[in-house]
Symmetry: C2
């Protein structure tokens, strides 16, 4: 299958872009190649699809279910009891809603961590996105035991769609003990897997780790060689200089989740210090119940503005750098040729309708999208060489919305 996008704006120039299979084949002016599908790119700008590097897709089902509460009350009284009532079928539909929302706001790839990964995988396969699915390890739950996870991995890996990559998801240092973390590290190494994990999201987590181990979380993990370029830490807010150095030295990655960190009052990522140390920083929305959406353009605005005001420096995290968090930086950690529109890269692309009032005038289209526009300006989405949305229409949207409304009545 081939697609030719005609007369689209790429970095301010008008070009044609030819895709063949799941790759970008050729970029140039007035391409004469014949393609199975032609897309008119007039009044559209093209960008790489965005990568959401930390989320829990199925939590769309808990959007607005509990807001403005203390973290403890939010988690223990509201989120955990509601999650306990979610069936595999619910998780499937919740993940479909997440995929729908991601497509509609320009995300083509995401890193997920949740129970019942096969339900999320089925949703992703049907919706056409690219995803890194974390198999959750948690000591206190039967489904999170290493034996169960190893079996799950073997079962899932055969017959996996090329857009989907399995990873391990040890939840955190306070829910997975050292023995099990070491197992995860070894299992990931043997099977060449990435590891997604929450880290130092709250000060309490750090205090409790220090009390137990006389070490701060990153030191604790470094002590048994857990760190490394295959590790993606979500949040990583409460770090001292030594911990930042350890992350940098080992090539571990960090996912910045500004909206969730602000909404739950968890804290503020030491972005500039991490960046200066050389840590690769990615961007995530976290689950919808603490955001409450999956719009990565909005997330970029929060990412930049939170740093500017708290560092008293408006020059920090300018738009191009901010955009890289959700594109190029992610491609480095995930080791995939995406995040840039160039020949040979994966055909994960989005088209922006530049005739929206909030994108006018157009001095700087990236600034417009991040600071003024947002996901609602995305018109067309292509992932792995397949059109997932055109003119903002996604197949099956109404059914997904109805099903999720139904499930929410039950909760």
């Amino acid at each position: 299958m081939s697609i030719l996008i005609k007369n689209v704006q790429l970095d301010g120039e008008i070009v044609d872009i030819l895709m063949e299979g799941n790759l970008i084949k050729k970029i140039g002016r007035n391409l004469s190649e014949i393609a199975a599908q032609i897309i008119n790119g007039q009044n559209k700008a093209i960008l790489p699809g965005l990568v959401n590097s930390h989320t829990h897709a199925a939590m769309t089902l808990l959007r607005g279910y509990a807001d403005d509460l203390s973290l403890k009350q939010w988690l223990k009284e509201k989120i955990w009891p509601a999650e306990a009532r979610l069936t595999k079928e619910d998780i499937y539909w919740g993940s479909k809603l997440a995929c729908l929302e991601m497509i509609k706001s320009g995300t083509t790839c995401f890193c997920d961590m949740y129970w019942e990964p096969q339900a999320t995988i089925k949703a992703v396969e049907e919706m056409g996105l690219r995803a890194f699915i974390g198999l959750l390890l948690i000591d206190f739950d039967q489904r999170g035991q290493k034996k169960f996870v190893a079996e799950q991995y073997e079962k899932l890996k055969s017959n996996l769609n090329q857009r989907i990559t399995l990873t391990l998801g040890p939840h955190s240092i306070y829910t997975v003990n050292q023995e099990n973390l070491l197992w995860a590290k070894r299992f990931a190494s043997e099977n060449n897997l990435l590891i997604q994990m929450h880290l130092s999201e709250t000060q309490e987590e750090v205090d409790s780790c220090f009390k137990q181990h006389r070490l701060r979380p990153v030191e604790y993990l470094a002590n048994f060689d857990f760190l490394g370029p295959e590790i993606i830490f979500a949040h990583a807010i409460w770090l001292n200089e030594k911990e930042i150095e350890l992350l940098a030295k080992t090539g571990s990655s960090v996912v910045y989740n500004p909206t969730s960190n602000m909404k739950l009052a968890s804290g503020i990522l030491a972005y500039q210090r991490l960046k200066n140390a050389g840590v690769n920083i990615l961007l995530g929305t976290d689950g919808v119940s603490s955001n409450n959406n999956l719009d990565l353009f909005e997330e970029m605005k929060f990412a930049a503005l939170l740093q500017k005001v708290t560092q008293f420096d408006p020059t920090i995290l300018p738009v191009k750098e901010c955009f890289n968090l959700a594109t190029f930086n992610a491609s480095q950690t995930l080791k995939l040729p995406l995040g840039k529109i160039q020949e040979g890269n994966l055909a994960d692309l989005i088209l922006i309708d530049i005739k929206q009032p909030e994108l006018v005038p157009n001095y700087n289209s990236l600034s417009n999208l991040i600071y003024a526009g947002g996901g609602s300006c995305v018109d067309t989405v292509i992932c792995d060489g397949q059109v997932l949305m055109e003119n903002r229409i996604v197949k099956g949207e109404e059914e997904i919305i109805e099903k999720c409304q139904e499930i929410s009545q039950k909760l």
Copy 2:
């Protein structure tokens, strides 16, 4: 002219709403009244139109013109030189674009302050919004002299559309001297006008005031009785306890502009302290060049989340309170019957399309709109009993976009 909205969701109940002239006449189930226009409210929620209490509409023309710069460089090297090139005609079109953007994101009323107010007034008259137009006083500009402003006021006040209210806009304490501020206070009192003014946006402003007068800005203003319920201060970030008390005691209002304050790294409003002291707090986007949009739903999200994370308290500024900043609180300061859907109030209303994926499920529709949705979920806008948008279509949209693109080429 009468309008009947059938079967619309109001606070979770399905009702009909009848408008006659520019007022809400009747709210109830299955109203049998005959109306000139019927609007189908199915799958829609109704809310009061939002009030943007501090902006500079025509600055849409400078959207994305200068980002990620220090305040000084931004203002002196980029914004002021560009503004000097804006003609009256440019300001008219820039204001039209602002009105278009406000309509599309659910704002029905705004407080403005800019040069060439007659150009903005013409735009507002044509676009159908409600506005409080500040006549700008600035010592160093001929157009900002009191004589000129008094003449302008006399000229404009006759023949003014009922949706438009004139106010005075002394720019700030560092651009308007005490004599001229006193004149403004007197002139406002004689003519029963509100006063809009910037206050304590940066620490530098406070330091320089203290150096000059041995008083902090609010103390300085209190010293010659400038404060009062007719005064609306934008920003008001750098306040000590005594200043907060003075604002509360005199009934002065404060406009919170979180996005602009974050983007320019100006500082963080002492929201909780102001609220506890009893100061009425409103919400504004500021001009587009420091935001970079006019979406008050997004502004509410920034408003709430910035307070939560910097106060380390996720319970601060919950959704209902946040919504009040842009509705009920504004109605108190502006002394207009708006900000609530009730019989007798002005017919300034918006309808939300609740079938958007980011508004599903619907446990709490206000939470959904503020935390998950945003201006793009607004489907229909009515102001002063007139439909300004239906199905997201606003008359004349394309011409406005083209004109503003043209003007931007010149800048």
